[in-house]
Amino acid sequence: MSKKTLMAGNIAIAEGAILAGCQAYFGYPITPQNEILEHMSKRMPEEGRVFVQTESELAAINMVYGAAAAGCRAMTSTSSPGFSLEQEGISYMSGAELPGVIVNVMRGGPGLGNIGGAQGDYFQSAKGGGHGDYRVINLAPASVQEMMDLTMLAFELADKYRNPVVVLADGFLGQAMEPVVMREPVTELPSKPWAITGALGRAKNIINSFEMDPVNFPPRVKLLLRKFKKMRRNEVRYEGLNLGDASLVIVAYGSASRSALTAMKMARQEGIPVGLLRPITLFPFPYEALSNLAQRINDFLVAELSSGQFIEDVKLAVGLDKRVALVNQYGGVPLLAEEILEAIEKMIKQPVGG
């Protein structure tokens, strides 16, 4: 059994980035993810890599843009209000085809909100919160191990598609501590001939997203859209538990899926055949997996830490003739397994169509 280390979620993200070969980290203090910034401020110089605490999240995302343009693996981490500030930069990165990892440890919102874990940034993050026709792969960890693993995967996918990738966690996962298997460091980084490294022995490289001529810009966007189509085809990831004999499926991601896991076990003890489908990628969303389930299952219970955002995609996937109920908390309050169990019991009591 490989050695495990007890680690907080935020630290697992930082160490995951370092293992993935992150050469430049730029961050700004914001609870509940300050530990990432603090850890990186110590570890990145230790590794001889770039670290800057910036004057704002605007500067942080634009430094990620600069480092990515220079061909380096780069990352920033923030929480909901800061993530809002970074949307323009993320749109520029997608438009200029730059890889980069943006970690969003969500907290209660809107506004200053509070610092408890939440999932209220779902629309902004999974649907793309900046301007223009672009999408961003969203990876949603549900354990401290996944905080490390999905951060590493984020760097890989960012380089694979030359597009920013978001790791969408929340304050509960960020602060929680769990045993983690340390992964092997990535040694081979992809070559980037397009990068800004100085026009030595080659023609100049230009990185931009600006195209004044309306005739020339759509073809560029078309290239991006082709990438997002490829992401939908190749990068959908989700976890399915007890779906075989399930008559009701809970759909949940991140922290909410942990409470759902416990609720599923409790329901099964009461003899209720409940399954769980946990999307790991929020874009590309596992529509197909859900619509397949919908061919034989009628009841879907969506558990989320937001006010009915994630549920929209579940409804989109399963269709309007299925029963899709919502059990949720928002504003930084955790969702307990008992609450989900109660919703399960209520749902199976109601006759279909009742």
Binding site: N62, G66, A70, C72, A199, L200, K204, I206
Partner: protein, 269 residues
Amino acid sequence: MTKFSISELDTVLYHRPESLEDYPFHFCPGCGHGIVFRLIAEIVDELNIKERAVCVACVGCSVNSYHYFNFDGLESAHGRAPAVATAIKRCHPHLVPFTYQGDGDLAAIGTAEIVHACARGENITTIFVNNAVYGMTGGQMAPTTLVGMYSTSTPGGRKPSLSGYPIRVCEMLSTLDGTAYVARVSVHNPAAVRKTKQAIKLAFRTQLANLGMSLVEVLSPCPVNWRLEPVKALEWLVKHMLPQYPLGEFKVIEAVAALKKGDRLCTKK
């Protein structure tokens, strides 16, 4: 009229610098950007840093600057060029990134980025072209628009009671310890253009010697949005902008002064 060919024996006193693409500028007639671009290209040639120079463009009339230089270049979001350049320099210290920014880009939306790049003493160079208006968008008030000056968003002239006062960027930034060289120059006549070139060249040499942040503010005409003929625009610049924005060097740390002494000996043109 008799024609004669250029004899190869004739000495070239002035010609297009190599680092400038043979590509016509899109600027309006008499715009100062064209002069500053050419000076930068001359300096990149003279310092022989074409393989290391990186043009970090801003959003404004000079948004296409990376098309005009034939070395690496990239676009940055409005106001964020100093952050982009910071990352490039820290990732590849051998590169020579310079940000080319207008007054809207640097002194309005990008104020935090330029202040903190200076405060951190980033080893980058900023060329800040101040023409007192937002040119690309059609002549609105900029943070450097003079009191009483017309702009499309200060009809009847800028009134402090409504729109506050113009910002003197060099004076502000020279108080930050991270700055090694801060100077304000102008392009209102050939002598001033020569001084502009000297200042920009010294700024690049400051970066090459890793001495910290270098910034050169260039007062420049915007004939179309000032609603003046190019020649008249230069006269207006001298009469109205120079008093508000005095020329000179506002920060020259010792090490840069030493460079300057050496510079004076070998300045040809």
